[in-house]
């Protein structure tokens, strides 16, 4: 299951990268202003009587005259939206297939524009934001060591475009060990998926590293919350990160959350203790109790495993190459 998830996510990330190089994903969000096929071109002789809006205040009788439509004008035909990029294959595998090519026009305006009446208040694309502290936790290692971990994200924006910030860091022995921060533009590309493009910077032990980031985030079929991101760093460094989460609800408040995260690197970075290839995997199982939707304490166990040269580097630092941890923390969002 997880292997397939990874494969999917990688395919997705690759498709995305391909799309990115070929220009912005071409999803039809703007309507092509097409004539309804059954409609003749609107007659320019549309009624031109315009009742002044002010006259509507406190008048003896309402206007019997027609409303204030502008004289009909020929809609400007725009090219139909090009077909979707490769992500189309991801779009609802269980849904009836279909293409936009044989679709009807959604435009029944016959060239009429919306009226000019002021006062409309219909915020269908509002600015919304959220701060999620997914994990604010105390970690107790098998060898008796302990650390604190902060993992979360914040976003702000509209329906299809958001500024997305991610952060994940660990503090142990009185200093910041590792801290990943990302700032991304997140753009909706499918009902359950956003494409993300931005930058990442790593703080903590060793020199800081900066990366360009491109990836996807969304909900895969069967409710797997998935993140898959590719990174390009200075001097030809590359990296990839996959994170998958699931929520199993035992009651309306008690939720078991398995999670899996894996990091890959294109080359060794001894100064940060990172080896090429699959560097580390972290599998977690956290049981949280939602006191409120927004506030949930939890306990859990986490297994962390380093691989390859990362494993060697860790041993060199007298750090465990693998660790079974007990964690306790709180999940909160605002």
């Amino acid at each position: 299951m997880n292997a397939r998830m990874h494969a999917n996510a990688f395919a997705l990330a690759c498709a995305l990268a391909a799309a990115g190089s070929g220009g912005a994903p071409a999803f039809a969000q703007e309507l092509p202003a097409m004539q309804h096929p059954h409609q003749p071109a609107p007659s320019p002789a549309a009624p031109a009587s315009t009742a002044a809006p002010a006259a509507m205040q406190d008048m003896a009788m309402p206007p019997a005259s027609p409303p204030p439509p502008r004289p009909a004008r020929q809609p400007v035909p725009r090219p139909a939206a090009p077909p979707a990029v490769a992500l189309h294959t991801l779009h609802m595998p269980s849904m009836p297939a279909g293409t936009s090519a044989d679709g009807r026009s959604p435009d029944y305006s016959d060239g009429y524009d919306r009226g000019s009446m002021p006062g409309m208040d219909m915020p269908d694309d509002p600015r919304v934001g959220m701060l999620l502290l997914d994990r604010l936790e105390y970690v107790h290692s098998r060898d008796g060591g302990h650390a604190t971990v902060l993992d979360g994200e914040a976003w702000f924006g509209r329906n299809f475009d958001k500024l997305w910030l991610k952060f994940e860091g660990e503090r142990a022995g009185g200093r910041l060990q590792d801290f990943r921060s990302e700032a991304l533009w997140s753009h909706a590309i499918a009902p359950f998926w956003d494409a993300q493009l931005g930058v990442r910077h790593d703080f903590g032990a060793g020199p800081g590293r900066s990366w360009a980031a491109i990836g996807v985030e969304g909900v895969a079929p069967y409710w797997f919350e998935t993140e898959a991101t590719l990174y390009l760093g200075q001097g030809g460094r590359t990296a990839a990160r996959i994170a998958v989460e699931y929520e199993a609800r035992f009651t309306q408040q008690l939720v078991l959350q398995p999670s899996l995260e894996a990091n890959f690197y294109g080359r060794d970075d001894p100064q940060r203790g990172i080896g090429a290839g699959l560097s580390d995997v972290e599998a977690g199982l956290r049981l949280r109790y939602e006191i409120r939707r927004e506030l949930a304490p939890y306990v859990g166990i986490v297994w962390r495993q380093r691989f390859g040269r990362s494993r060697d580097y860790a041993r060199g630092q007298a750090e465990p190459a693998d660790d079974l941890q007990l964690v306790a923390g709180v999940r909160a969002w605002f």
Binding site: D58, S94, G103, M117, V128, N159
Partner: protein, 579 residues
């Protein structure tokens, strides 16, 4: 695992829910009056405190303090009341309504279901600029119809915060049948939360208010009874689709206190009768975002009007009332005892409740909430889900020889659109389905197939064209639209003045949508295309196709939208131009 199906027992929920559901005995503005004053709106009964009748009305919109749950809040009230006063007009007169805004924000009142000139319709940005703070707007129009209607704000979320009230129009030539008593029963949903916050939460986490999500124990229980494979199969499609079969309504009893004529369930609004009398109950769903299933255990409900229009009487045990619909019901209690008027929300997360009683202070047994409904295959797959349903693989194959099968014609804008999470190619067209939660419940439940407007269509001429519109959405992103295009990105829909057209609505979502056309009737057709019932709000069930005729005889610009307030705000709204 997450998102498992099957009915759970009633009543699971967050700890604080009971308080919300039950409310305070001294709810609403009654508390302001310093005593226990229940808003009894009998038209012909013993108590008629808040009725305004005649042709001239002065209505003041202002904020008032209310307390339904123990937490004081501000509500938007008309003449200091929530709901606002019952307005009683007479067909054939001309009414003048002076509405004064005594708040710091603009307001408006829309006369729901009333045929009137476009400038009097009360929708800011379409019919008029709204009523600015301190201003008075005078509505004046002839009354050309009779029946049960209502009025409400069309500004921001004021419809949620209390700006609504009942509207009853007496026929010019008397009622069709004599009734001994006549009561309005208005149903509303109150929340202590700021509706802007509710909207922001829905945009962030659309399942926030759903406290009936499928759970692991339900799955194990199913696996025990039907085998692991069966339990998995039943859940497979929903989980693959990332849909929750319990996602019946976006905002629930988790935050709502359901009101009957402004009274909480504990407040127990009471209507009096003498055994043997004919009592007319005018049900109005004036809520912002709630469907109710209404029944009075022990009494048959004879439905005599829908949306203000008389229908051939039909006796039922129960009916579902969509947001903005009205149903007039006759009951004839013969026993000298109390009866509970029970209106449970569609997701069984709460109820509004009142009592019919021979004397004040009585109450009858309160029925238990029904099991939490779970959507069926027909709610996801339309016609292909009938008879059990099969998984969809690739393209839906056109079923051969199935009667009443209609193919949906999707708009180009519904494809490759992150705001459209599903499309139904073969919607169901039958009107005789009471809907999820009411199917096979052992009671006779009203459906649209039961409703036949007396006298038939007002416009017997042929229909000259169809306009097909699809009800679309993304549950996850909380985006709602017609044809995948939200209001702010959409052009108006043009009706040619005088034409007789057919609206074809296909619901590509798994939620009900009550669709309301301002200014003109919606004459619903049977699946065979025959006239069925005249309405002002047409409910379209999940994966259903409903058609209705419109005579475009009202010049001007009109609102056309889903009457679930949060769906309307999220884009399921269009402007209609009749010219």
């Amino acid at each position: 695992m997450k998102h498992m199906i099957r009915d759970a027992g009633p009543s699971v929920g967050m700890p604080s829910r009971r308080r919300f559901v039950q409310g305070l005995a001294l709810g609403g503005t009654a508390a302001l009056l310093g005593g226990f004053v229940k808003p009894l709106w009998a038209l012909d009964g013993p108590n008629q405190p808040h009725v305004l009748s005649g042709t001239e009305f002065n209505l003041d919109v202002a904020e008032v303090r209310v307390n339904y749950t123990g937490e004081p809040r501000l509500a938007t009230a008309v003449n200091g009341q929530v709901p606002g006063p019952l307005l009683r007009w007479r067909e054939g007169t001309t009414v003048v309504l002076r509405v004064t805004n005594r708040m710091r924000v603009p307001t408006s009142i829309h006369w729901h279901g009333i045929l009137l000139p476009a400038g009097m319709d009360g929708v800011p940005g379409i019919s008029f600029p709204g009523i600015a703070p301190g201003e008075t707007f005078t509505y004046r129009f002839p009354v050309r119809q009779s029946g049960t209607y209502w009025y409400h704000a069309h500004s921001g979320f004021q419809e949620q915060t209390g700006l609504y009230g009942p509207l009853v129009i007496d026929p010019a030539h008397g009622e069709r049948a004599r009734n001994d008593r006549d009561y309005v029963v208005m149903l509303n949903d109150w929340t202590d939360m700021d509706p802007d916050r509710i909207y922001a939460i829905l945009k962030t986490r659309s399942d926030y208010f759903n406290v009936r999500q499928p759970t692991v124990p339900e799955f194990t229980r199913d696996a025990a009874t039907m085998g692991l494979a069966g339990a998995l199969r039943e859940r497979a499609m929903w989980n693959r689709m990332r849909m929750d079969p319990r996602d019946l309504i976006d905002v629930t009893g988790f935050t709502y206190t359901y009101l009957m004529n402004g009274a909480t369930p504990v407040g127990n609004w009471t209507a009096l009768f003498r055994p043997g009398e004919r009592v007319r109950l005018r049900f109005i769903n004036g809520s912002a975002n709630s469907y109710f299933d209404v029944r009075i255990p022990g009494l048959k409900l004879t439905v005599v009007a829908a949306d203000g229009q008389d229908v051939e009487p039909v006796a039922v045990d129960e009916f579902r009332i969509a947001v903005a619909e009205t149903y007039d019901v006759i009951v004839e209690p013969h026993e000298d005892r109390a009866y509970t008027i029970f209106a449970q929300s569609i997701d069984r997360s709460g109820y509004a409740r009142g009592t019919l009683a021979p004397r004040p202070g009585m109450q009858a047994e309160l029925p238990a909430l029904d099991p939490v409904p779970t959507l069926a295959m027909v709610d996801m797959m339309g016609a292909l889900g009938e008879g059990g349903g099969h998984a969809m693989h690739g393209t839906q194959q056109e079923p051969m020889g199935m009667p009443g099968m209609a193919k949906a014609h999707h708009a180009r804008s519904e494809f490759h659109n992150p705001g459209v999470d599903m499309r139904i190619d073969f919607p169901r067209t039958n009107l005789d389905d009471p809907g999820a939660g009411l199917r096979d419940n052992g009671r006779r439940v009203l459906t649209y197939a039961d409703l036949r407007t007396i006298g038939g269509s007002l416009y017997p001429g042929p229909v000259t064209r169809d306009i097909e519109l699809h009800l679309d959405g993304s549950m996850e992103r909380f985006i709602w639209s017609f044809d995948g295009v939200v209001f702010s990105k959409a052009k108006p829909i043009h009706f040619r003045h005088g034409e007789h057209l057919r609206i074809v609505l296909c619901n590509d979502t798994m939620m009900n949508h009550p669709i309301h056309l301002h200014g003109m009737w919606s004459e619903v057709e049977s699946p065979e295309g025959e006239f069925q019932v005249r309405k002002q709000t047409v409910n379209v069930q999940p994966a259903q196709r409903v058609t209705y005729r419109v005579k475009a005889d009202a010049l001007g610009r009109w609102a056309y939208h889903c009457h679930l307030l949060y769906h309307m705000e999220a884009g399921m709204f269009r402007e209609v131009v009749v010219a």
